[in-house]
Symmetry: C2
Amino acid sequence: MRFEVSILGSNGAVPLAGRHSSAHFLSSEATDVLIDCGEGTQMRLQAAGHGLGRVEVILITHLHGDHFFGLPGLITSLALTGRTAPLRIVSPPGLREKIAPLLELDRWQLPFPLTFVPHAARAYGLLTTTGDLEIFSFPLRHRISTNGYLVRERAREPNILKEQVRALAIPWQEIADIKAGADYTTPDGRRVPNAELLAPASPPRSYAYCSDTVYFPELASYVRGVDLLYHEATFLHDMAEEAREKGHSTAHEAAVTARAAGAGTLILGHFSSRYPQVNDHEAEARAIFPQSYAARDLYRYGVPHVGRDAQK
Amino acid sequence: MRFEVSILGSNGAVPLAGRHSSAHFLSSEATDVLIDCGEGTQMRLQAAGHGLGRVEVILITHLHGDHFFGLPGLITSLALTGRTAPLRIVSPPGLREKIAPLLELDRWQLPFPLTFVPHAARAYGLLTTTGDLEIFSFPLRHRISTNGYLVRERAREPNILKEQVRALAIPWQEIADIKAGADYTTPDGRRVPNAELLAPASPPRSYAYCSDTVYFPELASYVRGVDLLYHEATFLHDMAEEAREKGHSTAHEAAVTARAAGAGTLILGHFSSRYPQVNDHEAEARAIFPQSYAARDLYRYGVPHVGRDAQK
């Protein structure tokens, strides 16, 4: 079951040739979600081999240009290439007002329904669903209103144990009841408890996107137990003061949050252009949280099932 | 003496991963000029090894997104990286209104003076000068108001012939007068005509940018004798009708204009995404105008001096 993230851009405010502005593409079994859309995202999508055909929702964290300046071009290209499916864009309030003049949205009709959903997260909560995914939002602390997002697979039904179905010759008419929790009684009157008939489904996998934000302890509670945590690490920790002043985090702080949250894996990103190499970010974070990786543009990170599936 | 053009994007409306939206970077001995600024131009500039440090003027042909959606990110990055030098952006009217909300220009003060110069060319004429360059504008015929631009080196002073200075032992005090056209009289009264003392300077080189436009015969008169002609060729000629309907040209038509203008070299660009390869564009144009080349992203085209310098 697919659940993987393509990093389309890992750089901070001023993009570099090989490290573009922020954008992630999350791909699950049933749908795709685009998170942030810095300048050039449409070209990065092509370079990564992705299209927006399955995307129903774009999530924008905040209205700084390096997180949304790719939207006008993306929307234009969708219009020119014949999209008809509806598209929702969730962001803090004000996005439509900023890009409507560029796209002349009040003058022309796009060939697909485009809905802007103004949303400033004030607490952790379910935002929406799309395909097989549930999307939660929560507040980050940056210079302007900023949302973090957590995307989780919907809980799956438990799996019926096929060997039991075969051994007990359970009629197919009984399966739905058993899946819903019923025990099974054999024709000769023996009662088989439900727990012996079902195996729990793989726990839903999750991914969280935290950029841009200063370090704050409550963030760990929003992303508790997340499998894959993307957290900005604009600076190294020797610039912790500048990070705080500018509304950003250090690699060390990202790792502290990952550890406190009990995350599976931490990916660092949104690097300042002052760092041509980001090995030091990785090392700094690993000292706190060993499963830390510096994001690389155009890399895909698959999220494994923990527990039984991970042991396969 | 440098006079070369970097193609930062050669594709039409919907960019491809390797063929970006329109942008050219013209570099002369004394200055640089950016012409059009499609999405991702700032990353393409970095990939090509160029900066905007010497750029005083950006020329935008028209207000379709693939020709200017890179401006907000570019301007933001200039602001973030400490530019203080003034910058002018020439375009058909309406550009400021389109991007001011995105950049919050009415709320924030940029750290450098940014001037929008609304200009809809109605005839061929001198638009402005920058460094050692003169910039001319002329009307193209597209679906909306569109300017073509021609950039030419300023005329240089003729060169004084050093062998004559030496042979005649001309005192340095006389040089300025001679350069201004005076004859020279030797101490023994012999008059040496000016023409024997000066060699004409290399003729100014020129480059013209014609995108987007339908074919129209008058265009050749605007770019008469240009050394390097960049002309859009969105389609091949079997789609001439569609080209005209959409306000575009074919490779054949671009070549007809280049031939009629007596251009030195033709570069074709602004290719439709329907053509993954553009060899056929090159072949179609060469049948009419042999010195035709399909633009390639990130290639540089030097403009040679014709005549004596070219023979070096």
